[in-house]
Symmetry: C2
Subunit: 661 residues, 2 copies
């Protein structure tokens, strides 16, 4: 680029974009000219304060305040909603007079990054689905140049914002009329998906919100975000009211099959719950329902179908047929949600009949497709949703683990609610247990534990608790490689229970680990591991580089015990971790970013779906996986850090003599 | 095209499309291959009967029945909704065996023409906005090829109909699920605007309807059409319920300005009236409300704004600002219309602040833009909407005629309702009147007239009646060129009325033509003519080739009397005619044809809007037009057929001596 007469050189950081522009150009115009991402709602009128920049320096261009104009009256008098920070200048008012470096702080970028607290997951790049534009509409004239409110608005948006091809929702015409009068021809418009004008307000406005929901079988969690900054302003969780029709989702499918209008009732319940959660969130965030423009929803296939008013019964039996595997874009009103009258819903696509929109959201958040290491992403519920892949290929399957991991089918099992035993350790010497309960901060051998359970008594054991209990019993030799509880183990916590034995994990109330419990967990974990192995076969790998355990269960469990039990394949324990609320994070990403929506839609389309039910190898893996790992060769990483019991030659039974406490 | 091995030559009439195709191809496939417009809903399964063809002959290819297969079992057993007509064959079953001519009857074309009864207006080319497609969806499979209902439907539509890029309205997903079950995987879908799947039914279906409304200030007229054939199945008219807030639209604007919520109330009234009219229409046509997929609406700008829920008050004063001048596409539910849940509304665009969607519809129907002759198209209401142009240019203006032509401001004036005098003749010898009333078939000097008025007594005089009365009085010399009623005219029907005179048109009850009436009509007609002259100036013409008088008033009036009075410029009387229900016809065209919608939108965009209020020449024309035509030079065509009174030199007054009867 050759520099013209009266031009100066401007370099923007952090983008590195630079070029020559006319001396006296303001920074906002310079940024637009050079394609720099500098935010503005008011279009350069010194109202919104979103174009704040700093003077910077670089090796090539030294800092020199004289290279820009001093603050003008607009800047000196600026008192907008977004205060001018120390050292910042208003980009729309400051003009460049000489070669200069301008730093655009993250807050001043439209496509800013929202930094997430957990370092292992990528930050969210905001790509707003709804943007606000302040525009001054020329008044109507009498004569052959007369133009309607509608046309004058479109012309002003083109003249002042270079926006073309816009479509005004006709339902916004009445508010366009009143806003032009109230705002004395100055209005702010909301533009959805870069093309639809969905709302008009008089004068300047810079508030627009959205809500992302992860609809779990048990709980519904929602996050209200500022759609412009990406900030999470409020979070709300509540029980899924459908739970009265069954703890696990399959019970709810049964309910819909057995009862005329059952699906309709479940739909109404979940839609009402979402709507009431929106009510809580807007109050907490100090927003109005009519300021909510976007609602993003994810859930497993059955929740997905129920909240969309679709019949879930085909998901209950082969061929596990989804009504749709596309992302769904709807008016919020069509789902009974009371938000802005033109607010929209975006529902992430389901991957397959048993791999839901929650799994799609988790993939978006955990991003196996963006990285080279092979990641195994597991979300355990009634069915385990299993994803395996990397930047080259992504495979997904579901595996029929049944509800054991959710505490069902376990003698003292319960949901992971306060009072449930969630952590268990067995002392290798005394064979005595230590426990911790959901909602408590202490182990049972720590001070304060009994105060906790006085307030919240122990009521049962949840999925992570039973996993850790059985893994712990295996490590101390009470449970053998085949899953048999050793009736002659040297502890009086072993009690006879018919022809089998149980381990008394707790006495008040009595919580047993029964032989039946061990069998139920073996079946469940074998299904999970077999699913993972099947995907590994298809991918063509014997090992995985990372394992991420998603969902409430995945975040409660200690990865080591999951591996000891053989729920998951061997992996460096440092690379196995809970994925936090991956589905919720993915929902938030889709709320804040149109690019993220396109990414997840493209991702879901290219997922290779593996059907466990029709693959003979799944059965083979399942049988092999029923036992508890004993071959060091299969679990080298685990064996390096845990003393795995050696298998006895004859029965797989080893005897140890332990003193009783 | 060189003919390949085993190929034969097929010529389709009337399209003239021809080509070589494989011997044994069925006619429907051949038609598709050659781009021939041959209808089908069932896709060639012998269900719908829409692909009926005939064997034809031409000079190049002689008729030979052996050149096609004999009727097969499907054809012999065909008993579809559309019976096989004598001599017709099912195109999807009959295969071609030798060179052959195939005639496609109009009924078998998708883009058929609906022949209108009036020869001077173009036929309507049907280009269905909603089309139905029968499709057999493969069943879902278990395994990695599993596909959702949604995806299998899209794939089937692509495989069986070559339709791509379709979008399924997510609200139709539940009925997709149930239809696949009920229809045993065979469904019919409705596709809107060539891209949106808006409805799904089990099995085969071939019914879809639409309604076109012309919302006048006085009456609301609706037509229910078969969207596939273009046939008008039912017509319904009713009073606009807003009339209780004022006969003329400006009174209604005043009402909205004076009353909080006034506009809302008027909106509710007109929407309810449209909805109830839909109810009447579907009953008459034997259809269901949920079979109505499209509602088209036209109306003057104030009606347009009121039924869209827009504030009409800006239309009441300069700069006469429209909220929108675009066509409006909306969900029918948003206007409170109970039709199919995904039924849509299309509202034609308004042209300018006083030139409404009804004028746009009239332009579409009268099609001045398609022809070389310069057409003047006038729709007279409270404001006259005036269009002038031809294929090169189209100009439009409105002229403030006031409500005189609607019977307001006339001493005995009333709306054109039963009992209103609508036709008047004055005998040049006796100076006695003859009249005809709205709803009657006889003139007052014919047998049967008094029986008619015994049933429907004379109640007043409507717009066309007062025009003909004044024009008649002018022709017999009772009214002079300046509009003065001659108090000394030789008939005792002239009575003194203060300082002026009146003519007693009727005695039971007494209906007078007063001097005030003449003045009111002069003002109105001068405004109309001045508007037309202004457009002629802009167009650069002194004459027009055609005059079309639209609206109820335009169809009641005798064009000759309108010209005698000087309402319209001179023109060959054979080229002046009522335009029938031009706005209603245009609304029907937009209902039946996507191409017509694109045409009217493009047309409205290129109309040159002339604002009478700001043009000094309008005032000049207005003053000149106040008198009644007397210069033969100005009205050569009229003067050739009517004996126009000669102007007296001094006062413009001529005296005649007539005997009284």
């Amino acid at each position: 680029m050759s520099r013209g007469e009266g031009e100066i050189h401007v370099l923007f950081t952090p983008s590195g974009r630079q070029g020559d522009i006319a001396r006296g150009t303001n920074v906002l115009d310079a940024a637009r000219h050079l394609g720099v991402d500098l935010d503005s709602i008011c279009g350069g009128r010194g109202i919104c304060g979103r174009c704040q920049v700093q003077l910077g320096s670089s090796k090539s261009i030294a800092l020199d305040p004289d290279k820009v104009t001093n603050p003008n009256l607009v800047e000196l008098n600026y008192r907008g909603a977004r205060p001018l920070r120390e050292g910042n200048r208003l980009g729309c008012q400051m003009e460049v007079l000489g070669d200069v470096v301008i730093a655009v702080p993250p807050d001043s970028q439209v496509h800013r990054q929202v930094v997430r607290k957990r370092p292992e997951v990528p930050d969210i790049d905001v790509d707003p689905v709804v943007r606000l534009y302040y525009v001054e509409v020329p008044e109507s004239v009498l004569g052959s140049d007369a133009a309607s409110d509608h046309r004058r608005l479109l012309t002003a948006l083109e003249d002042q914002w270079s926006l073309t091809g816009l479509h005004l929702d006709p339902r916004a015409l009445p508010e366009l009329q009143t806003s032009l009068i109230e705002g004395k021809s100055a209005v702010t418009v909301a533009i959805h998906d870069e093309k639809d004008i969905t709302a008009v307000w008089p004068g300047f406005r810079d508030r627009t919100f959205g809500v992302a929901f992860d609809i779990g079988s048990t709980t519904i969690a929602g996050h209200l975000c500022d759609l412009l900054t990406g900030e999470v302003l409020a979070t709300h969780g509540e029980m899924n009211p459908q739970i009265r029709f069954g703890e696990d989702v399959m019970s709810r499918v049964s309910y819909t099959m057995m009862n005329e209008g059952g699906a309709f009732e479940l739909t109404r319940l979940v839609q009402q719950a979402i709507d009431s959660a929106i009510g809580e969130l807007v109050v907490e965030a100090g927003a109005g329902r009519d300021e909510v423009f976007e609602v993003v929803l994810v859930g497993n296939p059955i929740m997905h179908h129920l909240f969309l008013g679709l019949d879930p019964t085909p998901l209950g039996s082969a061929p596990f047929n989804l009504a749709t595997d596309e992302a769904v874009r709807l008016e919020a009103g069509a789902l009974g949600l009371d938000v802005h009258p033109r607010g929209k819903v975006y529902v992430l696509p389901c991957v397959a009949g048993h791999v839901g929109a929650d799994a799609a959201a988790a993939m978006l958040s955990e991003a196996p497709h963006r990285n080279e290491p092979i990641q195994l992403l597991v979300d355990v519920g009634t069915n385990a949703e299993i994803v395996l892949g990397n930047s080259e290929r992504i495979l997904a399957a579901s595996s029929p683990t049944g509800p054991a991991f959710e505490g069902a089918q376990i003698s003292a099992g319960q949901r992971a609610a306060p009072g449930a035993i969630e952590r268990v350790r067995i002392d290798p010497e005394t064979l005595e247990p230590r426990i911790r309960v959901v909602g408590g901060d202490h182990w049972s051998d720590e001070d304060g534990f009994y105060d906790e359970i006085a307030a919240t008594p122990v009521t049962g054991i949840c999925g992570s608790g039973i996993i850790e209990a059985i893994a712990g019993l295996f490590l101390v030799g009470i449970v053998d490689e085949d899953g048999a509880i050793q009736g002659d183990a040297a502890t009086d916590r072993i009690v006879a229970d018919g022809r089998t034995s149980s381990y008394v994990l707790w006495t008040d109330p009595q919580i047993l680990v029964t032989q039946g419990d061990v069998r139920a967990v073996q079946l469940a974990k074998a299904a999970l591991l077999a699913g993972a192995r099947l995907l590994m076969d298809h991918f063509g790998t014997d090992t995985v580089d990372q394992i991420r355990l998603a969902g409430a269960f995945g975040n409660h469990i200690d990865p080591k015990y999951a591996m000891v039990l053989g729920m998951i394949p061997d992996c460096d324990l440092g690379s196995v971790s809970g994925a936090g609320n991956a589905a919720g994070s993915g929902a938030i990403m889709a709320l804040l970013s149109g690019a993220a929506r396109r990414e997840v839609e493209e991702l879901v389309r290219r997922v290779e779906k593996i059907e466990t039910a029709t693959e003979p190898r799944f059965q083979e893996h399942f049988v092999t996986a029923l036992g508890i790992p004993h071959k060091t060769a299969d679990y080298p990483h685990l064996a390096a850090v845990v003393d795995l019991p050696a298998r006895t030659a004859s029965t797989g039974r080893r005897r140890r003599s332990r003193r009783k406490p």
